[in-house]
């Protein structure tokens, strides 16, 4: 038996008895960041693959959502900062070893690229908005220029979108001190989840059945890949060292087991997968349920992951008297 008790008080808020530094703000940011990556990716993909006619929403209108969604996410991120007035300090240095530093600089590049994406599709996507904007001098010429280079802009958007999607996972996986996060599968998992959320949003927002069906088919593929990545995550933890095995325990029993398997895997991945599949076969007409479930599942993945990483740890002390410890002293 080994028992480690604190003799002097150590109840540093948000650190003891277990880490609680990140609550809803970081999961919201990670989810919306992933969604932004997906929106930029599919907007670029629809354009590059010549789907302007068959997927008009994705090709022309989707790009506008990306910076809006990202800005909501970054507002949540700002709320999380404890030393808010020093937020500009992210941009007075670049730290090679810090994923968060990479991320904050990546976001600086995402905005102008996203803006170019919007400008290059503004006239066909939002004619009213384009007409209003064109009253400003030079804007018509700017729109012409962006439209001429719209394929180049789309091609540049894709690596940045994928980078943003993967970054939201690496941000957590880089913490070797938190065993549940410390698996590089989080990068691809969050990327695929972000793409899937964007596809779900396209199903909700597209007006034409053909485009909805296109994105339902894409989403089915993404959900299958995501299920495979979740399986790899679990296998990775199950074949890891003691810390990984303890982290795995958090999703096998306790309050997070039902949340992870029931709500995230069941309601957020398997059920929408089945619904979308049945809808494509024409057996169901519940257009909105599956994509809404996918979006909820996407957020739950971030919230559960952020919570569990903070619960998994290298150091644990008993901070309260526990009479059950007496039982463990018996030979």
């Amino acid at each position: 038996m080994i028992e480690e008790t604190l003799v002097t008080a150590r109840l540093n808020p948000k650190v003891d008895p277990s880490l609680g530094i990140w609550s809803w703000e970081i999961p919201v940011y990670l989810f919306l960041g992933g969604l932004t990556a997906g929106l930029m990716f599919f907007a670029a993909w629809a354009l590059l693959s010549g789907r302007e006619k068959t997927a008009p929403f994705a090709a022309h209108r989707m790009a506008l959502w990306a910076p809006i969604v990202l800005s909501i996410g970054m507002t949540a991120l700002f709320f999380d900062l404890e030393h808010k007035l020093w937020v500009w300090r992210f941009y007075t240095s670049f730290q090679v070893a810090s994923p968060m530093s990479w991320g904050s600089w990546l976001l600086i590049f995402i905005y102008p690229i996203s803006l170019l994406q919007i400008l290059s599709t503004l006239r066909p996507g939002y004619p009213g908005l384009a007409g209003w904007a064109e009253r400003v001098p030079l804007v018509p010429r700017l729109l012409d220029l962006c439209e001429r280079h719209r394929r180049t802009i789309a091609a540049w958007s894709i690596p940045f979108a994928i980078g943003l999607g993967i970054y939201t996972g690496i941000l957590l996986s880089a913490f070797s001190a938190r065993p549940f996060w410390n698996t590089s599968i989080l990068g691809p998992l969050f990327l695929v989840s972000g793409l899937s959320a964007a596809a779900a949003l396209a199903i909700l927002a597209a007006r034409e059945a053909a485009e909805r069906h296109l994105f339902a088919r894409i989403d089915i593929g993404l959900l299958i890949v995501e299920l495979a990545l979740v399986a790899l995550l679990v296998i990775g933890l199950a074949t890891g060292g003691r810390q990984q095995l303890q982290a795995l325990e958090l999703i096998l029993s306790g309050p997070y087991a039902a949340l992870f398997w029931g709500w995230f895997v069941g309601m957020g991945l398997v059920l929408p997968l089945l619904l979308e599949w049945q809808e494509l076969r024409g057996r169901l007409k519940l257009v909105f349920i599956a994509p809404v479930l996918v979006l909820i599942g996407g957020f739950l993945l971030r919230q559960i992951t952020v919570d569990l990483g903070q619960l998994s740890t290298w150091t644990e002390y008993a901070t309260q008297f526990d009479p059950a410890l007496f039982e463990r002293l018996r030979p």
Partner: protein, 179 residues
């Protein structure tokens, strides 16, 4: 690189907590927060039980994951040493360093920046021991330079086996416990 280390003799420590009080006084640590703490470790089965007291704090790791995780450079090594410090004027309070520390040695100040044990570098600069070491009534705590073979800490580690906490994290911690 100058490597400062703390060597704590668990055979002499009685768990009185004076190191904790000394730190709070010296560094004006706000109420409810602690830079150091004492752990009582009991092992074995009754009647063969062993107890060990450990005064714990930031391990001022050579390979400090908190310094790596910091996006602004606020968390840094003090000059060419292993002493890990936080510059409040660069800290955004993003808490990445708290998540990155396997020893949970950091906390959030009421002002919002992150703080932690500094090895009392303001005293070390003047040739003094950190407050906890200077206060210890059993003299179980020692502080000095590991890279100087004549220092007390280097001697103690040569004479007796010193263990660090969770060396398997790979952080190369610099607080040693003599068994």
């Amino acid at each position: 690189m100058t490597r400062y280390a703390m060597v704590i003799d668990t055979r002499l420590c009685i768990g009185c907590g004076d190191c904790v009080v000394a730190c709070k006084n010296e560094n004006r640590v706000p109420a409810g927060l602690n830079r150091d703490w004492v752990v009582e470790r009991t092992s074995g089965a009754w009647p063969r039980l062993e107890t060990e007291f450990r005064s714990e704090r930031c391990n001022h790791c050579d390979h400090a994951t908190c310094v790596q995780a910091c996006p602004t450079g606020a968390s840094h090594h003090w000059g060419d040493t292993n002493v890990v410090l936080v510059n409040p004027d660069q800290c955004t309070g993003c808490k990445a360093c708290i998540a990155a520390c396997p020893y949970d040695a950091r906390y959030i100040t009421p002002e919002g920046y992150i703080d932690k044990c500094t090895f009392c570098h303001h005293r070390v600069e003047q040739g003094l021991d950190p407050a906890c070491v200077a206060t210890c009534p059993t003299r179980c705590m020692h502080f000095g330079r590991l890279d100087d073979p004549r220092s007390r800490v280097a001697q103690l580690l040569r004479e007796r086996n010193g263990e660090t906490l969770k060396p398997e994290t790979g952080n190369l911690p610099n607080v040693y416990y003599l068994k």
